[in-house]
Amino acid sequence: MSTQEKKDNISQEKENVEIPKKRKSKRIGIFVCHCGINIAGTVDVEKVAKTLSEHEGIIHAEDYVYMCSDPGQKKITDAIKEHNLDSVVVACCSPSLHESTFRNASKSAGLNPYQCEIANIREQCSWVHKDKDKATKKAIKIAKSIVEKVKRNESLEPISISVTKRALVIGGGISGIQAALDIANAGHEVILVERNPSIGGHMIQLSETFPTLDCSQCIMTPKMVEVSKHPNIKLMTYSEIQEISGYVGNFKAKILKKPRYVDPDKCTMCDECSKVCPVLVPNEFDENMTGRRAIYIPFPQAIPATYTLDINSCPGLMPIACGKCADVCEPNAIDFDMKPEIIEEEVGVIVAATGYDLYGLEKLGEYGAGKYPNVINGLQFERLLSASGPTKGQILRPSDHKVPKEVVFIQCAGSRDPELHNAYCSKICCMYTAKHAMLYKHHVPDGQAYIFYIDIRSGGKNYEEFVQRAIEQDDVLYLRGKVSKIFEENGTVKVWGVDTLTGKDIEIDADLVVLAVAMRPSKGADEIAKKLKIAQDKDGFLAEAHPKLRPVESITSGMFLAGAAQAPKDIPEAVAQASGAASKALAILSSDRLYHDPIVAKVDEETCSGCKICIPLCPYGARIYDEEKKIVVVNEVLCEGCGCCIAGCPSGAAQQRNFTDDQIYSMIDIIL
């Protein structure tokens, strides 16, 4: 090869080497809104537009009285077409208000919506400053910083996701049942998972409901039957969620189906098995006031209608250990060889209706709870009142089965007590205590009911009237004050308290004390929240996405909240929220594809060293190590776009689309 040839080759190579292209300068338009005098009153909008018009990259700048009005939007679309703009900045109110308005307007003029950005010069400038000169300077800086950002914005398309048109509802109480029925009635398949042997939750334990005194079982059982007969509902009782993976539209649930050792199809509910069972354990359904056998049915109307063998209290599955139940079972329904099963289900949405449990009586030692048999909680009193309860609806006190003549009800036991117990109000206790006292008087007309209260909170349709009825018609004595001490003496429960309205000390020789104990998130709520990646509030209730505007959604998209899992609430509220959650879930199930904001993480494959630092930083499991490429990639569908992994990336390989380091640095530069 001659020298000349070599030279030519080299020069050719040089030409072939890709010189980093200078960014094609974008044609940007800026539109400054007066917002009447909301912005123009403190910011010299004309000056902002004029100053920006001299900024590098700005092709078109104008101001207008209301950019968000139809003529205002038309100014933007016209300018995009006329000046062939690549990007648009609207200096106006907060992006939370009109970002979508202006992005849609830009889109209608043929621009990618992600080429439109908002400079917030109202909430964060004109409304918070009075000095016009300073506010104008600040508005100019804000607008310039957004121009610098938009210069480097990519055109993005929303990420499209397919939808599995099935729902998972966790919890078979009234909320879960309502949500499941609503979704199933809309034509979608629902998997309803309940950890107990029967659905029904706490509502099926109740005697009557306030304020109508409807029989709780009578209104609950038809719904339970409807669930069991519904062609779209797959009911999985005695089952627990083991693992949830995936994302909105495409969740995978692993459900542990615990063995009940009884074949529900064969069981005829003849009750022969429990007659021969030698084991007696406390009956949870009666709040431990009665006993049940190791093989049992929680209550006669249980759904599914089958007995369950509780392996934790059974002496053993080996026939040699006992096996009496299997001996007497005519239809051979008992099968000791049943094994736990893991069932995998694919669903598009999840409704968490995990309900509540009562605050432990043992934690209320100051009221003698857990120590004295005649100090009971509200649910125990419900069972005493219930026609299907341990006393068949007669009110008899636990210690000696005598009819109590003096009953003291104490509200806020464990609620509204930030020092010792729970700071929040359990919301339903004022009403159910009024109901308890009223029903007690109906059962024992010559008895006396006392209620110690802090305040009476009776907000709700016909609720206040109900409380007044308890006071006026049923002579319930309301005492405003707290109980200071409870102790047993001569077979009665002495209650010492103070009536703060009269200032008098009160001493009552009570036969029975009923504590309106606080509602707590159900046992296991912590675990389920972790499995679902739903945040919890400070008290452990599942956290809604927004306390006012998104009360039935969790922060994780595709997961919804219903009932007391989210906060203490009564039945109508729980039902309303369940229907709300169902309708939100249906909005997803009724669409064929979902779209996800594309401002997600991206990885420069050449730079990524595969150090994996980003993996634990991602709260959504969206960063995945690619064994083949030896780098960490992004699952764009899972990525929610927080950018945490990007700030953690030591090599700068990770970037967030439209929030790149380059953009942030250039914004800082222009601000300073």
Partner: protein, 140 residues
């Protein structure tokens, strides 16, 4: 002495602090105009290098606002922010920057008033501290 107006870069997360600043506006509260906001989706997007860059480019103070602990829109991003800022504050002294020039605050979407209070307080604090004077070496 020449009149000193501090230059402050504010980073705020989209869901809490930026919304809190919006609420301050909606409620027509007033604060000093020295801080310019850069909105990011989560405070955990803020790389310590962004903060150093701001100081290098002439910021007298850097403010970071995020959601309260356990209230992060992205579950726990703010805990990462907390750790990063704590570490960075330890290193700032070595760069010749008083750690007090960097402030992290939790401001929720409901805390317009808190945003105003911390903003005014921070601006006043930086005003009292005077301009950041980095050595030639540090700013190079």
């Amino acid at each position: 002495m020449e009149h000193f107006e501090p230059k402050i870069v504010c980073f705020a997360c989209n869901w809490c602090t930026s919304a809190g600043a919006d609420l301050a506006g909606t409620s027509r509260m007033e604060y000093q105009p020295n801080g310019i906001m850069i909105r990011v989706m989560c405070s955990s997007r803020i790389d310590p290098q962004h903060i150093l860059w701001a100081f290098k480019k002439g910021a007298d103070g850097v403010f970071i606002g995020g959601c309260h602990p356990d209230d992060c829109h992205y579950i726990d991003g703010n805990y990462n922010t907390l750790r990063r800022i704590k570490l960075l504050k330890k290193l700032l002294t070595d760069f010749g920057i008083e750690p007090e020039r960097l402030r992290l605050e939790w401001v929720s979407a409901a805390e317009g008033k808190k945003f105003v209070m911390v903003m005014d307080d921070f601006i006043e604090q930086i005003r009292n501290m005077g301009p950041l004077r980095l050595s030639q070496e540090a700013s190079a």
